[in-house]
Symmetry: C2
Subunit: 389 residues, 2 copies
């Protein structure tokens, strides 16, 4: 199941999960969400990872056939898990935040008598602090993400619509090794390989708590591109999928066509200034909500609050953890209780929507260190012009 | 919320859901899954559709801002739903098959005292019988799907890897209007815009109950292309996303390079023969499991059972309902209790994996009619050669 090269890494992750379980009085945890299966085994499979507070992991596998290892046990149905366990947990953590009700009910019967705790919390907390191995994976995604974005100015052609440009960027990302999948926890937030927004479409509100909007091409997926032509005087914001390694970087860059509105330029420069200040002043030990407060204060001082984090509809945060999924801990929001920890990886995205122009502002992914934030997405940050070649 | 043009359509769907609720003694149903929100309102939003057994629908919306209509009520949290309702249901249907446990628990508190039923079943049954409007949407997806597939022979270049060809097909699909999103109920089955399989990679088992396999490019998404070069003597199976309208067609076509193995040719022709026989002999009123039995009998007679529906790992079905999601009712499997109904839309996919050659066999999407099955995916079915241009 786990190749030799990943054994130490998986043991480290399992021990971190087990340590959190001990402090919360949980004897065992059973996970089946793809993101958590991947985190605990190094691959996605159909089945369950069962972790005990003493740091042992057993993989109960339905599919694929052929996985090997002494801690791999094949099952057809979850009822077999209980039969195979030598000891039953008194307190069992299940992924109550993501597993459907019907499946949790079934698992509760399998573990009848066990007290059920919310294992989603432990998994989210454990995953928020990346290991060195994970940081390398994110770093690698950042390099490819940068490479793909560097080609955007050469892809653009005059007269393109937003979706035409997006499709060409998708192709460049995929050829650069992007896996395409934009993993989001919970399943209710749907999008396809990220968004490209131009002009007033950036101000169309979406169903989601996104900084930026977009009406989408169809009512079944009402987010992002809506087929608008990219016209002179408008901006083009690119916020597309950085999943090259199973671990994602989140990065936004902005371009303009023809001429750049003064307010848009000012707002974009302010976004960069917010990044610089946050990256300099924040580090492990700082409160996440303070980052939000600093950003809001800078925006208020510049008189740009009306446009900050959306115009018609505003998002309630300026950043979020990123890793296997794009909505991890910590959350950079006014009511967040998260404190930055060494090894957190966060995306910071102070953005603005300028009516009749479009969206501006950048997003970078940072590694939280003892003494500051290290930027993992290094594409040029200035708003740059797209020329017709 | 609902444009004038969709009012009758939505009223029809709501009345069908309400009729099923009455027969099952359910007073109201509350749905929040994106596929069900789309089905009940014609668009995806963040919030809930509340449907009563007398056929009234109320939309409780969190986002986006600005939706209008007398049956639209804005909420910040689900607790407000109960406050806004004049009458509380004695029996409430919730989506127990898809909604996370924690959210169902919270909704149970909101509707304290109500008996909870599984609304997922009702929604799945209602959605299995497509309305004329939905059938038109699927028909339209089929036309675009065919158009995109027709370009595959011109996209191929000698020396391409599976992923290089897949990326070019993705681009053609997207430029033809494909929304990209491959909607799957449940969230545990992840894939990106479908799969392209060549050679022995088709025999690599996946975590999912798929006919065909593929190791994938990364352990975080172990399905589909694995970077294999497309070499002479191998087949190329294309099973990619047909979501052009919010409603999907599912279609597989196969190509070969250089020369075609005799067994592969025989198996491909058998797949087509199975399609012809099923389309001729089956219609509304027939048992779905009989389709599976007929296919298996034909395969046994031809002596190709070893390769049918996979080789190293086999799938346990030969087809499935398709619509907003790709895993709808009815299920064409040995233990299925489903009976074909007029208005069902089903994908039939008798496929084979031939070791050292690749996958063969086609998949078509059919509308179930009183007197037979109408094919909605009309691309040429023969296995055809890819030439280097």
């Amino acid at each position: 199941m786990i190749p030799q090269s990943l054994r130490e890494e998986m043991a480290l992750r399992i021990s971190r999960i087990a340590n959190r379980m001990k402090t919360q009085g949980i004897d065992a945890i059973l996970v089946s969400d793809n993101a958590n299966l991947y985190y605990t085994s190094g691959r996605v499979f159909s089945g369950y990872t069962y972790i005990t507070a003493d740091g042992a992991a057993t993989y109960f596998v339905r599919r694929p056939v052929g996985l090997q290892g002494e801690n791999v046990k094949y099952i057809r149905k979850p009822e077999q898990i209980a039969e195979m366990l030598q000891e039953k947990p008194a307190v069992l953590g299940l992924e109550l935040d993501v597993t459907p009700y019907g499946i949790v009910e079934r698992l509760m019967k399998v573990f009848a008598g066990a007290k059920i705790a919310n294992g989603s919390v432990i998994m989210r907390q454990a995953r928020a602090v990346k290991t060195d191995f994970e940081i390398e994976k994110i770093r690698e995604s950042g390099v490819h993400h940068d490479m793909a974005y560097s080609r955007i100015p050469r892809i653009y052609k005059g007269g393109m619509t937003d979706v035409e440009l997006q499709v060409e960027i998708e192709r460049v990302l995929r050829n650069e090794g992007c896996l395409g999948l934009f993993r989001v926890s919970g399943g209710s937030m749907e999008l396809f390989m990220g968004n490209l927004l131009t002009g007033d479409n950036a101000d169309n509100p979406t169903p989601y708590d996104f900084a930026m909007g977009g009406a989408g091409l169809d009512a079944s997926l009402p987010v992002g591109c809506n087929g608008s032509e990219i016209v002179p005087g408008s901006t083009v914001m690119v916020d597309m999928c950085g999943n090259f390694t199973g671990y994602m970087t989140d990065m936004t860059r902005v371009f303009y066509v023809g001429r750049l509105d003064d307010t848009a330029r000012k707002a974009h420069e302010l976004s960069i200034a917010i990044h610089y200040r946050l990256a300099k002043e924040f580090h492990a030990g700082c409160e996440a909500k303070k980052m939000y407060e600093v950003a809001v204060a800078m925006v208020e001082e510049a008189g740009l609050s009306d446009y900050f984090m959306g115009h018609t509809q505003k998002a309630g945060f300026i950043g979020h953890g990123v890793g296997i999924e794009v909505n991890e801990l910590p959350v950079l929001a006014p009511r967040s209780r998260d404190v930055l920890e060494e090894g957190n990886v966060i995306a910071i995205e102070p953005k603005f929507v300028i009516p009749h122009v479009g969206a501006v502002g950048i997003e970078n992914t940072y590694l939280v260190r003892k003494d500051g934030l290290e930027c993992l997405t290094k594409s040029p940050e200035d708003i740059s012009e797209l020329y017709y070649y």
